[in-house]
């Protein structure tokens, strides 16, 4: 199978990536109080290993993974645990979190700046353990624990390892800036993972609107000594170019079967940020306690990319960046296409936070919810080849099983259909409701 020009469907929303100006990463000061929700990844929440009153340092393990799909959590500041209580959570509304009061010394658990020389000689098992200990999850937003994903069963060998640098969501530039600033380290991480998976190829997929990143990576790869199989793959600018299945299709021509995983077609995809975190975990022994966050939107006076400690509240970031003097409508975690609208700015940055957007009423659309005029636009843009209008109609009528039979569960919630719909119907809302109802009814039956 060969690489394709692009996948079917997709949309071209206004990018608005220029808001952040020149791309550099600034360090955000550590917060006074860090709010660290226990649920940071898919699967089960982690279990606290500290209690109220304990002293912790930056990088101290404060909660351990519980169960197979779960991840470790580390303190992002040095200070004292003052409480473990329910706090606002950007994805769940509210969830248990460890609250740490900073002592302003920012004392690390160990020195995270020196590169371990021994990294090259580690075995796969040891690398996986380091990754697991560092609490790394997929940083593109899916937050699947990295050590689970990087450890496919023996009967599913990985031939192609894809690094997702598409960053197709409008506004967001955190991956882009990371690529520009840390290309060397990302490549090191990439080589490490490729070696660990025994993959034949490692493709770095970058959308063509990031020409500088493409050029930089190409140049670095040429300079690299053992760069065989390492390759940069420019992608057409289109949303959702970074969606896993679409990315795999574009790069390899293979379709991940419905309901299947990328490893079913011998592919594994990781986000650029995750690869960088793996580098830090293995080479610097640094756990995941900070990440790059784009703070943008026309409601923000000085949009920028920040290196932010997990647990910093949105409020601090927004206030630091300044609110523009416009009519603010929405606060969103993530991009405008798939991000979650927040009801309060008290929510903390979690590992899944790739961006914080403050949208004005000009940007954030009003959906009129008119009747579907059956224009078929949603059908032609759906990258999964679904008929969103039909599915949502079925869900609306309560016919979840029919909706399931025409692909309800194949929807990846990219929102393209909803974006393009001229009638402003709430397609995605119904689809999400349908998925929820379907899963619930399945659980009840079981």
């Amino acid at each position: 199978m060969k690489a394709r020009v692009t996948f079917k469907g997709g949309i071209h929303p206004p990018e608005n990536k220029g808001l952040c100006g020149e791309l550099s990463i600034k360090d955000f000061p550590p917060p006074e109080t860090a709010v660290l929700p226990l649920q940071q990844s898919l699967g089960s929440a982690s279990e606290p290993v500290v209690k109220k009153g304990d002293k912790v340092k930056k990088g101290t393990l404060i909660a351990r993974s519980k169960g197979y799909i779960s991840s470790n959590l580390h303190s992002s500041v040095s200070g004292e645990v003052i409480d473990i209580r329910k706090s606002p959570h950007p994805l769940l509304g509210e969830a248990n979190a460890i609250i740490i009061k900073s002592d302003n010394r920012d004392e690390p658990e160990r020195d995270y700046s020196a590169e371990e020389a021994s990294a090259d000689s580690l075995s796969s098992g040891e690398i996986l353990e380091l990754i697991q200990n560092a609490g790394i999850v997929g940083l593109g937003g899916a937050t699947f624990p990295a050590h689970v994903k990087l450890n496919p069963p023996a009967d599913k060998p990985i031939k192609t390892f894809i690094i997702n640098g598409a960053e197709c969501e409008p506004y967001l530039t955190s991956d882009h800036s990371l690529m520009l600033e840390c290309a060397d380290r990302i490549l090191k991480g990439a080589a490490l993972i490729k070696k660990m998976l025994k993959a034949e190829k490692c493709l770095i997929a970058i959308e063509e609107n990031k020409k500088d990143a493409i050029a930089l990576f190409r140049q670095k790869i040429i300079q690299l000594k053992n760069a065989e199989g390492l390759q940069v793959f420019p992608l057409k600018v289109k949303y959702p170019q970074g969606a896993e299945k679409q990315l795999i299709y574009t790069l390899t021509g293979k379709e991940v079967p419905s309901g299947g995983l990328p490893m079913d077609v011998s592919v594994l995809v990781h986000n650029i940020g995750t690869v960088f975190a793996v580098y830090e975990a293995v080479f610097l022994r640094k756990p995941l306690f900070e990440r790059i966050v784009t703070v943008s939107g026309k409601g923000i006076k000085n949009p920028a990319n920040w290196r932010v400690r997990i647990g910093t509240t949105f409020k601090m970031l927004v206030n630091h960046s300044g609110l523009a003097d416009k009519k603010i409508k929405k606060l969103i975690m993530g991009g405008p296409m798939m991000g979650l609208a927040q009801y309060t700015d008290e929510v903390p940055v979690v590992k899944a936070t790739s961006g914080i957007l403050v949208l004005t009423s000009d940007e954030a659309a009003d959906f009129e919810h008119l009747a579907c005029i059956r224009c078929g636009k949603c059908v032609s843009v759906c990258p999964m080849g679904l008929m969103p209008a039909e599915i949502s109609k079925m869900v609306e009528k309560g016919r979840i099983d029919t909706a399931k039979s025409i692909g309800l569960m194949d929807c990846m919630e990219c929102g393209s259909c909803n974006y393009i719909c001229p009638s402003g119907t709430n397609l995605l809302q119904y689809i999400k409701l349908g998925k929820y109802e379907y899963l619930r009814s399945k659980n009840v039956k079981r």
Binding site: K8, I11, P13, K245, Y249, E255, P257, S258, F314, K315, V318, L323, I328, K329, K330, L331, G334, P336, M337, M338, G339, A341, Q342, T344, D345, L357, V358, E363, A364, A365, F367, L370, A371, I373, R374, C375, G376, V379, S380, M384, G385, L386, M387, A389, I406, G407, D410, E413, G415, N418, Y419, I420, C421, P422, S423, G424, N426, L428, Q429, K432
Partner: protein, 321 residues
């Protein structure tokens, strides 16, 4: 401080295309203006009155129905305007005005609101209105204003009528040569409905629709291609431009068959729909009792749209056929 702001919480996505239904309807209406203008220019002020009455009656009916059904009035979305305009464009230029109003009333009240309003109608309202008028006032619907000097004894006034009722020879008697006929057809200086005659302006309007992404190429292209192929095999080379540029084909292919509500939503379904329209149009033109078949062909295909959709499901990514 964000705290004092009123934050809206909805599901994603949070942004939306600017091409709304409302805008689409007005773009279609705008794309029809040149053809309507040509109709008024060729056929005189009564054509303008027909257009005005149809549009006005449609809008009034829409208001009336909305109030009756206790739905928010949806004049702003332009669909009533568009229906009225389309209906007017496929009526004869000398059509009595009260009949225009009745046709518009039928279009909106019966073929749109009785089915549940915008988005729920089975048949294209404008065409349903035309079909109603055809059934109700057959004579007025086939009384055309003549633009050419006809030799004695020739009464039918549209080229298609001429061909159907008097044969090829009298057609040639009126238009002298093929090239002259095609030129007149292309420009629109022939007898016919108000907006149907000027193929050139309709094509321009249709291209505007496709480039503005209001409609896709699937239906017009498959429709027109089918007509080309069928007319070549049934008649020959001369028939191709003749069938393309006469009657309501261009209006039908670009503006009527592409009505989103009454055509399939899948691209494959749209192609089947276009082919069906083409076949029925040619069948009626060649074998049927009426000289023109566009209206009935599209209405027929409207009625099988749900069936087509059932057989033209899209392929879900990652699912083998």
């Amino acid at each position: 401080m964000l705290k004092d702001k009123h934050l809206t919480v909805t599901v994603s996505p949070h942004i939306k295309t600017s091409l709304t239904t409302e805008r689409m309807m007005w773009i279609v209406s705008a794309a029809l203006i040149p053809a309507a203008g040509a109709g008024i220019y060729f056929f005189g002020p009564h054509a303008a009155l027909v257009i005005a009455v149809c549009v006005g009656a449609s809008i009034i009916t829409e208001l009336f129905c909305a109030v009756l059904m206790k739905k928010p009035a949806t004049i702003k979305d332009g669909s009533a305007f568009l229906t009225g305009l389309l209906l007017a464009l496929c009526l004869p230029p000398e059509f009595p005005l009260w009949m225009c109003a009745l046709g518009s009333f039928f279009s909106i009240a019966v073929s749109k609101f009785a089915f549940g309003g915008l988005g729920h109608n089975i048949f294209n309202p404008a065409l349903a209105g035309r079909a109603f008028l055809m059934g109700a006032f057959a004579k007025e619907m086939t009384t055309w204003k003549t633009l050419q000097d006809f030799p004695d004894g020739i009464t039918a006034a549209t080229p298609l009528n001429l061909l159907k009722e008097q044969g090829y020879d009298s057609l040639m008697k009126v238009f002298d040569s093929h090239s002259h006929l095609f030129k007149e057809l292309f420009i629109g200086r022939v007898g016919g409905s108000i907006g149907e005659t000027s193929a050139a302006l309709l094509i321009i309007g249709g291209l505007i629709l496709i480039f503005a992404r209001v409609t896709t190429w699937h239906i017009p292209v498959s429709y027109i291609l089918t007509v080309i192929i069928v007319s070549y095999f049934t008649g020959g080379l001369f028939d191709i431009p003749f069938h393309l540029f006469t009657g309501g084909l261009m209006l039908g292919a670009f503006f009527m068959a592409t009505d989103p509500v009454t055509s399939p939503i899948t691209p494959k379904g749209q192609i089947i729909f276009g082919i069906g329209c083409g076949l029925f149009t040619m069948l009626i033109r060649i074998r049927g009792g009426y000289p023109e078949g566009v209206c009935y062909a599209i209405l027929l295909m409207n009625s099988v749209t749900p069936l087509i959709e059932r057989f033209s499901k899209t392929r879900i990514f990652g699912v083998k056929r």
